[in-house]
């Protein structure tokens, strides 16, 4: 049966130009897909979207939709203009957790496409800003049908609402020479320890894990996650002096001084008269710049591990927060190392679940109660690596100073320093 196609003069203007057009893709589903249901859904979707373009307003409302046994993972969408556009009046998104590191085979993508077009609109994004595969557009009954089928062959829902959210990790050790940890393992151990908290929202607000294999932080973990794991190393960086010389021979000494030596944030680099490189590894903060410029010549050291920062998030409600260093360095090699990483996450989530206010992110709670109180709550001793600098305000009572100083020296002695 031929459908009565909505006119879309504004959207049509997004079909011109060289970049691939999402409007053309939706129209292909409307015009060429063999399933009349998909033709009708995408036609009404285009109709509503054109209406939004004309009136400059959105017309989707939330609600409550989930699958049997879970409380979250679906973003419910009901149309406010569903009477005019009935075929897309229920248009929920199914959030599905990707494989750690976003690795796929074409066979797996085809299998997902086959199931999705049986039940949904045929529109999908790899990935949303949450890190989920976003299957966009399915009605309420088919939400369950779609989930049942993909869940049978290995996929599970991600987080939505006040819960542990879908985690993200970079390509890392699979393809990157800068990687200082097993991102995939840390990612899966962390988030899969909390599947109950992913599927059944019961926390003060969202809680995100992100893992980047080095301080370049390709996953934006410091800014965008409550629990950021960044690979790093604590011994000397590796320098291949022959490659350094080759680089200088190619680029010239002035370029090298201007783009490597003087760009070091802690002035830890020095160029020797014979065009070899001196690195003061005690001053180096592992920023990655010189390694990025000369990936053949410079490499992370062998004593690798991770730095953990807690509490990153965007504006709402108290303003932007970067994560704060809570664990300056942690080895991640043995199973015990990984177990203690997961235990740390449990401790932090438990403390925040207990002490966070409704709709208060972990970083906002730390801002409210103070970093020192947070550290005491999770049983971690203060460390100068956690700060840019010590306090500037003299307005503080320090009744326990002598004991705290003694504890510091005792801990230093215990650590053999």
């Amino acid at each position: 049966m031929a459908i009565d196609k909505h006119a879309t003069p504004m959207l049509d203007q997004l079909e011109t130009g060289p970049w691939p057009s999402f409007i053309s893709g939706i129209k292909r589903l409307r015009d060429q897909h063999p399933d009349a249901r998909i033709n009708a859904v995408t036609n009404d979707l285009l109709g509503q979207l054109e209406h939004s373009y004309e009136t400059r307003k959105g017309y989707w409302k939330g609600g409550t939709v989930s699958v049997f046994g879970y409380g979250g993972g679906i973003i419910p969408r009901f149309s406010e203009v569903g009477k005019v556009f009935p075929s897309s009046k229920e248009f929920h998104t199914v959030r599905v957790q990707p494989p750690a590191g976003n690795h796929y085979t074409t066979a797996m993508l085809r299998q997902l496409a086959d199931t999705w077009e049986k039940y949904g609109s045929g529109l999908v994004t790899f990935h949303g800003q949450t890190g989920n595969i976003m299957f966009i557009g399915v009605d309420t009954p088919n939400t369950q049908n779609f989930f049942d089928e993909i869940n049978d062959y290995g996929w599970d829902l991600g987080g939505a609402g006040p819960c542990v959210r879908t985690a993200m990790s970079c390509v890392g050790s699979a393809r990157c020479e800068m990687s200082c940890t097993n991102e995939l393992k840390a990612h899966r151990l962390l988030v899969n320890n909390f599947t109950d908290d992913v599927h059944r929202p019961a926390l003060p607000y969202k809680f995100k894990f992100k893992v980047s294999g080095c301080p370049n932080d390709c996953q934006n973990a410091i800014e965008r996650s409550d629990f950021a794991v960044l690979g790093t190393w604590r011994d000397d960086m590796k320098v291949d002096q022959a490659e350094v010389k080759a680089y200088i021979a190619d680029k010239g000494r002035q370029y090298y001084i201007d783009n490597v030596i003087t760009r070091c944030p802690t002035k830890a680099l020095s160029l020797n008269d014979d065009d070899t490189l001196d690195v003061n590894n005690r001053d180096c903060v592992r920023c990655m710049h010189c390694l990025n410029v000369m990936p053949k010549a410079l490499h992370p050291g062998d004593d690798k591990g991770v730095t953990i920062l807690i509490g990153g998030k965007r504006t709402l409600k108290i303003g932007d927060l970067m994560g704060t260093v809570v664990v300056p360095f942690k080895k991640l090699e043995t199973e015990e190392d990984y177990e203690s990483l997961v235990e740390l996450a449990e401790t932090i989530i438990d403390f925040w679940a207990e002490n966070g206010l409704e709709h208060e992110r972990c970083g906002e709670m730390i801002e409210r109660i103070g970093l020192a109180n947070f550290l005491e709550g999770i049983g971690i001793e203060p460390d100068p690596n956690m700060l840019s600098h010590p306090r500037q305000s003299s307005y503080i009572r320090m009744d326990g100073w002598d004991e705290a100083a003694e504890e510091w020296f005792a801990r230093q002695a215990e650590a053999g320093r």
Binding site: T106, I136, W155, R175, E223, P265, L316, K317
Partner: protein, 356 residues
């Protein structure tokens, strides 16, 4: 009712089975990489094994036809293994150099755009907008399509001083994230309240608690329990709208776009930075948003001409200073650029450092 199926709580899948065999074999044993041409990376392992990555931009919201076309190309011209980047680009992995050029040709021939590596303007990371979000002030996909049409040469070529990450967001929650350049909706008027609906739709105490400036209080309006907004205090952030849709913040005329610059996630050369406001009051003008694109292009032009190698936008501005930045991009500096939020004092110049 039929018996419901219990979910299998398998969580995040193990990627090992979906990884190219050369990546599995050399996991954690990569030595260095090269950038043979824009859109292509070559990684070399300590074992001597090599893998080429070909990166392509897409429309991000993929229909199943497009997804299958990407798979067909992956099967015919690559090894059947793909990886998606954080900015929704698809990357094909091949272990044979002779496959690289035919793969590029196939992708370009099918309308995809090979590029986005190293010093390019990367694919704009964005959110759902009018297509799916419940609180959007604009349509991110349309803004991004319009901008990428104009920035495509900078995606295809790596000619910028360093990489440029652009983001768009359809409200001030900023799901698009921090970017070297961020184009975000900025509401400019307090919410319009439908008092007939508030009592039935909104959990009033949690709406009151949501306001960052305590401008919302419970009130009886026309004999019904509702909420009222102190409009002198209201900062028009829209935070009350998600928990209480009768507090409509979007407005065809007054929801504007603002442009922010200098957000940088990397630790390279300096600590990560948040983006700073540079332009506001830009019309939210579908279907092509030309005013916003024009400003973005001015910023990119000034950055490309003025920045030194490896300087990100924040570092370039830190070197040349904000007065010269506003001059070079021909944007007005106003009292609204002066921060008023907590910690604002830290952004004031408490030195004699002035550039002349």
């Amino acid at each position: 009712m039929a018996e419901m199926r219990e979910p299998i709580e398998s969580g995040c899948p193990d990627p090992w089975q979906y990884m190219h065999p050369v990546m599995r074999k050399n996991f954690g044993m990569w030595k260095y990489h090269e950038h043979p041409r824009p859109g292509v990376l070559l990684h070399v392992a300590y074992s001597g094994d090599k893998i080429w990555t070909v990166k392509a931009g897409t429309q991000r919201i993929l229909d199943v036809f497009t997804l299958r076309k990407l798979c067909d190309i992956g099967d015919e011209f690559a090894d059947g293994y793909v990886h998606f980047t954080i900015r929704s680009n698809i990357e094909y992995l091949v272990s044979d150099e002779s496959k690289v050029q035919p793969l590029i040709d196939a992708l370009e021939g099918a309308g995809f755009v090979v590029g986005g590596t190293q010093n390019s303007v990367a694919m704009i990371s964005h959110t759902q907008g009018w297509l799916h979000c419940d609180i959007p002030g604009t349509d991110a996909s349309g803004v991004v399509k319009s901008m990428m049409d104009e920035l495509i040469d900078e995606f295809r070529n790596a000619r910028m001083p360093n990489r440029v990450h652009i983001t768009t967001s359809c409200c001030q929650i900023n799901c698009g994230g921090q970017g070297d350049i961020a184009i975000n909706v900025q509401h400019t008027k307090p919410p319009k309240i439908n008092h007939d609906l508030v009592a039935n739709v909104c959990e009033r105490p949690s709406v009151v608690a949501r306001c960052p400036v305590a401008a919302i209080r419970p009130a009886m309006v026309n004999g019904k329990p509702s909420l009222e907004v102190d409009e002198r205090k209201c900062i028009c952030c829209g935070a009350c709208y998600p928990p209480c849709p009768p507090m409509q913040i979007n407005d065809a005329e007054h929801s504007k776009l603002a442009i922010w610059v200098g957000g940088n996630h990397s630790n390279a050369r300096g600590k990560p930075t948040f983006q700073k406001l540079v332009a506001a009051g830009i019309p939210n003008n579908p279907p092509r948003w030309p005013e916003a694109t024009a400003i973005v292009k001015r910023i990119l032009k000034a950055y490309k001409e003025g920045a030194k190698d490896w300087e990100r936008i924040n570092e370039w501005i830190e070197r040349i200073g904000w007065p010269r930045f506003f001059e070079e991009v021909e944007l007005p500096f106003t009292k609204y650029h002066i921060d008023t939020w907590r910690g604002a004092r830290a952004s004031f110049n408490s030195s004699s450092y002035i550039r002349f």
